[in-house]
Symmetry: D2
Subunit: 453 residues, 4 copies
Amino acid sequence: VNDAPEMLAIVGATIIDGNGGQPINDGVILIEGKRIAAVGDRSIPIPPQAKRIGAGGRFVIPGLMAPHQYLVDGAVPATTILYEGRYDEVAIEAAQLALRGGVTTVFDAWGPRDALIKARTAINQGRVSAARIYLCGNWVGTGGPYSEDMRPQFRGAVSESFAARIDALWEANIGLELTRMSPEEVRQSVRRYVESGIDFLSYPVNVHRDGAYQYIVFSPRVQQVIVEEGHHAGLPVQAIFATTGEGIDLAVHAGADIVLPVPHAGRPMPADTVALVAQRKAPLVCLSFPPDHHEWYRQQYPASSPFLKFLEPQDLDERALIRVGAMLLSGRCGHVHSADTMNSHKDAEPPGGELLLGEGHAMGLRSLQERGMKPMDALLAATRNIARAFQVDKDLGTLERGKFADLVILDRNPLENAEHYRSIHLVMKEGKVIDRDALPSQRLLTAPPVAAE
Amino acid sequence: VNDAPEMLAIVGATIIDGNGGQPINDGVILIEGKRIAAVGDRSIPIPPQAKRIGAGGRFVIPGLMAPHQYLVDGAVPATTILYEGRYDEVAIEAAQLALRGGVTTVFDAWGPRDALIKARTAINQGRVSAARIYLCGNWVGTGGPYSEDMRPQFRGAVSESFAARIDALWEANIGLELTRMSPEEVRQSVRRYVESGIDFLSYPVNVHRDGAYQYIVFSPRVQQVIVEEGHHAGLPVQAIFATTGEGIDLAVHAGADIVLPVPHAGRPMPADTVALVAQRKAPLVCLSFPPDHHEWYRQQYPASSPFLKFLEPQDLDERALIRVGAMLLSGRCGHVHSADTMNSHKDAEPPGGELLLGEGHAMGLRSLQERGMKPMDALLAATRNIARAFQVDKDLGTLERGKFADLVILDRNPLENAEHYRSIHLVMKEGKVIDRDALPSQRLLTAPPVAAE
Amino acid sequence: VNDAPEMLAIVGATIIDGNGGQPINDGVILIEGKRIAAVGDRSIPIPPQAKRIGAGGRFVIPGLMAPHQYLVDGAVPATTILYEGRYDEVAIEAAQLALRGGVTTVFDAWGPRDALIKARTAINQGRVSAARIYLCGNWVGTGGPYSEDMRPQFRGAVSESFAARIDALWEANIGLELTRMSPEEVRQSVRRYVESGIDFLSYPVNVHRDGAYQYIVFSPRVQQVIVEEGHHAGLPVQAIFATTGEGIDLAVHAGADIVLPVPHAGRPMPADTVALVAQRKAPLVCLSFPPDHHEWYRQQYPASSPFLKFLEPQDLDERALIRVGAMLLSGRCGHVHSADTMNSHKDAEPPGGELLLGEGHAMGLRSLQERGMKPMDALLAATRNIARAFQVDKDLGTLERGKFADLVILDRNPLENAEHYRSIHLVMKEGKVIDRDALPSQRLLTAPPVAAE
Amino acid sequence: VNDAPEMLAIVGATIIDGNGGQPINDGVILIEGKRIAAVGDRSIPIPPQAKRIGAGGRFVIPGLMAPHQYLVDGAVPATTILYEGRYDEVAIEAAQLALRGGVTTVFDAWGPRDALIKARTAINQGRVSAARIYLCGNWVGTGGPYSEDMRPQFRGAVSESFAARIDALWEANIGLELTRMSPEEVRQSVRRYVESGIDFLSYPVNVHRDGAYQYIVFSPRVQQVIVEEGHHAGLPVQAIFATTGEGIDLAVHAGADIVLPVPHAGRPMPADTVALVAQRKAPLVCLSFPPDHHEWYRQQYPASSPFLKFLEPQDLDERALIRVGAMLLSGRCGHVHSADTMNSHKDAEPPGGELLLGEGHAMGLRSLQERGMKPMDALLAATRNIARAFQVDKDLGTLERGKFADLVILDRNPLENAEHYRSIHLVMKEGKVIDRDALPSQRLLTAPPVAAE
């Protein structure tokens, strides 16, 4: 019996290692078991027992990372109703779609904590093949799917008994009530929560309600309490839904490790704010729509549509942040929607705008480039920046000796054209070549609608 | 091989045959195959090969009939979402609950036609053991579950694509549009519909919308067209949701065979209307709540509740109709609700008021008796009257030679106390003793809620 | 003292007398007191004491009539709030605007009965100069301004106490409750109402609620009761808001004298209905928008707008009715709106589409002509047809000996171009030349908005 | 001609001078013109020319002060509609009701700035007799009456044109948009605003929206900007609508001079917060309902009513604040409502709970006493505390030499029973005896409803 880990060698490709340097032409990546043993040019010796993967003329990049996903979308009642008790399977289906598209790591931004942990465990134990999941569960102080924070208008359509049960799953004891608590009470709740198996901690900066987006959820001292408790437990802390300059400023000063700015207050970031995040190198998740999609929305929606007022600040913010070299994480990677949802959205989205997870990252990266980001920086925004921000760069984010062998082999050069991110030849996760055609292994959300009887 | 049908003899019971006459003490019912061969006293000769069912001290009544059920409740989004493609199974579960409770025949008042036909076929072919189903599908001119007629407030909670699909299933091409059509156009639509496999035809008299209950859906001449087309196809026609004296009058004069009066306009039937239905012997479905439940509602609901204004006219109407000997069909038999719905209704219904189908008929019959109906007439209201009204009395409704052997053996005399309808010893449908403990064979709606993960 | 009535002679004009015949060139109208003494050519002897009004080159037409106005618009909360206790003054202002525009008679279609009577009295007694008012008050069985039938969405914005008081003023004891009554109860209520000083009786055929327009308010026998009671009191009866062929058919067969068809059910009149109203010569009020306004709406409103679905049937109905020579009453004459309402409607109406009462009739008549009506017939639709339909043709509607001297002198020939109805040279009512510049004598609704402090 | 100011002497009363010390029995207050010349016992020499007011057996207290009124209630559409252009008259009517009830000074908490200034001027110039008005106009960053912050549900009931005009009057260029601005932009807007004639500056701490009460409007640094600008202009700054411990803490640390805490977040103040405000002696406006009213609400409202959840924290907060000797300002003084509003509230308020301005202060003071406040402290909460908090104690708040002669003579001792505040014998403002029977001089809001015609 040979217990030695399997060895693989990817040979001949142009290697873009995710560190931003010059790509290595005709390179070699040597993989031993789950990890990379060496990266370099042809001078690297390839042991004879290593299985060779010829990649001449192709391009190797680190496995892509999605910093902001909803693997189980609580905002769609049909999802919470149809798959109650099986949300882990829904999450796995989503993570499989991601992996099929070259996204080897997904950060879940809001979901049912325990089901996500169950999915994570199944994936980490190798029982299913899917993208790696990191999760935060609920946002501190935020209500569940049927609460005032999310879709209260749907509460009447489901039974009270169901709504209460689902909300409790999502809220995980850190729901809306925390917004009314004293700092010390918040501390106690968060302290219990950070020990419950999450990978990072998220809290909202501004209020997640239509027409109230500019208000502030937590006082600065409560924000500090939350960040302290996250850090005390060794977790990175994400300040989510920051809609104003003041919100971003508060988050940065509270010590948040990642910030998700959104333009929902309808105004661009003040110059001071842009300067602050640039100077601090604060990682910002960026949910970028391409300029042509902006244009489409402007033509399709009535001028009075509230949706339109987000477009201009979003465009300005992204251009300003790219100009000053802020640390951006490319977050637009697609959704996991049912066929019914896709059909119903059809007329509300630009052609090609409603993409499944795993299909959307090229759009997000194209969008950043069309607003001024250099191709190499875009690649970093989808790989190394994310790994660093979430503090998993010891293992992930670049092609370097010792890190997990998460990588994608592309037929065409992604630095030439962001669309080439779609030209996937091979996906590898932890040293294993993924059978992409077999993903997802079970269709739930993405199954075709029931045929009428 | 013996091809002769199996013979059974129920021996020694008091037989209440459903014709309203004096019960037969120590009687004998002889059954040959699916049908009754003889009913009478001990003088009936029992062939030796007949299997004997001793029923001394017990009471035999015809199988109960439910004239107004929703086997698949489209008004509950979770039901339409969770069981899409399986509504036939939902209907079967409901019909099994009915049968377990002694209700051998159910008239479905509104539902997805094709799924109900599928369920009916499965039952009629003996593939599952369940109450016999008769169905009307949609009401002429009425929208589906998510339409303005039913639960438009839930439409936003499901995708447009889903809502349209479900509405179409229910509407079956005789939806809301018919209310805007000319008589001839209505005729063509109804003509196609009556050939589609339904057992009876239903159309609404008054408008099924909150605050508009007193208005009239179809002109008299359109009502006549509908009735003509139903009759032309050999189907009885039900005029449903008649909320005013004018509505009932129009339905009777249009030639409807059955009328469902409801007190939603908030006023009791005028004396003229009561006299008309009595004189015509028009069968009326009666959804009676017991007086003590009325009292409970009056105490629990705020005086301004619109619900309360239905109680007094309902009470007065039932008393008046019973007084004049109108032909009533007892329609209160229970619902088929999920555990979530039951939990959520808990505080809104009187103790014991929210009953499953198969458990509720005793309540309905008690209610009629407490408003003045004689016990024997109440029994007829749950059996023979229904069979006659729906024109299935050749086979059903009484214990008579030649009819189907649908019957219930009770431990205690139902003419003494309506609660004794619950003292079921044995249920027989078409000559087969039902294994009540095995029903329902599959739990769908009535399953316990998913345990939180 | 000379008690003889004043004599006037209009000399030299082309007289279009409203009977549809050839106009009289160079004609003479002799007026004695309030009434016309003679109409004809120059052969008519003009008494020396008659005051002459030279009208050579001009055109005389009967005073225009508006068959469908809301002199006090209860649907606008600011109106009911600001002018409580002064609705008679509001009505007078409106009737003055009408008169200024050549509309000498107005039929008020819905309003606060007692205030309208007060206004009518003031006008009839000559205390104010304004168009003659005929009124129906409330529609039988219809709720007031803040009721479910009209603007329930505004009820919360005013105090309950106020809403109840205003609704009662409008309902005048024949409110919503009548829709739930027996025929005999309706008869008693209507009998009291017809004696209360109204000039004609109105009842709705179809339901005046968004999304329920196709339903029927009263059973045929109740409609007959209403018509009988109106006729018994000597009043013409108007069947208002008939949205379907069935509705119009019911109204005609109930014996209604005037029908207001509206296309709110979204389908054109069936051919049978068109034939029926043509054959019966049933007077139909026609609220016509010009084709170019239709076009404007189609371009401005989203395709899904419910408003749009009325346009096509309206267009088709008008064309069909004109083709068969139905008896139409031109009802589009403008509104009486405040400056605030006008400002707020600005973008929702086509240029020139939002006109004040007295300014709009040319638009209505142009609209009918553009759909095929002959100019002379259009003139009849604004004069004689209305007088006949409302049974006031003994005194009004044409320029004939013995009738009231209500007339308009135009500078240009209205039969050449409907816009020429605007070229008003002089308005006379009951033999008095109107000082148009003095109208309205008091600005209420039409006053400019309050200047900000 | 004698230019010397008029002299008055109030002789013989028990003087409770508002400083909290022992009352002076059989005292003398000498008034010269508008101001107090001396206060003391009988040893004070009374000049012969002084007019004597005998007050033996009676009690003199400083003129009462109302720290939180809406003289023009923008939340009632009928008020904004009916009195547009005359809001100054509405404010004067309200100030006259106040004065009639012994309230000589009113702080208007939210209203149309320019109309309030106009009213203030009329009062200060002596053109009308009414309570002295101090005003803040709008709250920084808050929308007008029809905006999302106040009564958006009423916007549809008025024309857009009107709503926009009224909102602009209230907002006075410091509306909702300020909540989205950068600190510097806020500074510029507030700087212009503080120069516009206001007496104090108000800004909201928490969000004034149902279900979002716990969120924070402005970041700490923006709060500081607001306070700085107020102070820079010499104005006291009020932090209004502080619903949480965090909110109060932020307001105190921002340097607000007065805080209005409200229990709308549904939780009592944390102990830390209570300690903070006690230690800082931060003046808190207290809108206290008596315990028996609390009890009445608990019995009348359904247990699920959101209203109820405010009661317990309010009760607990008041008891805690009184216990620690916080500086409270008694703010419950009654409303100015129309007869319609009063009628419509009748069933929603406890008997005696809906009081007019000038009638309500006894209730507010009784309420504080029933929660533990000493009678003398209650008197200070309605006089000196308010004057100090709003920095007008140089002229107002106590009966001291040099201050304005604002005072009330009561028949009975208010320190014995708070109800005795109603036993008004005489009200004096700036040395003038008020003719209370002549107030209000013009009935607008408080006029009886229009009689039906």
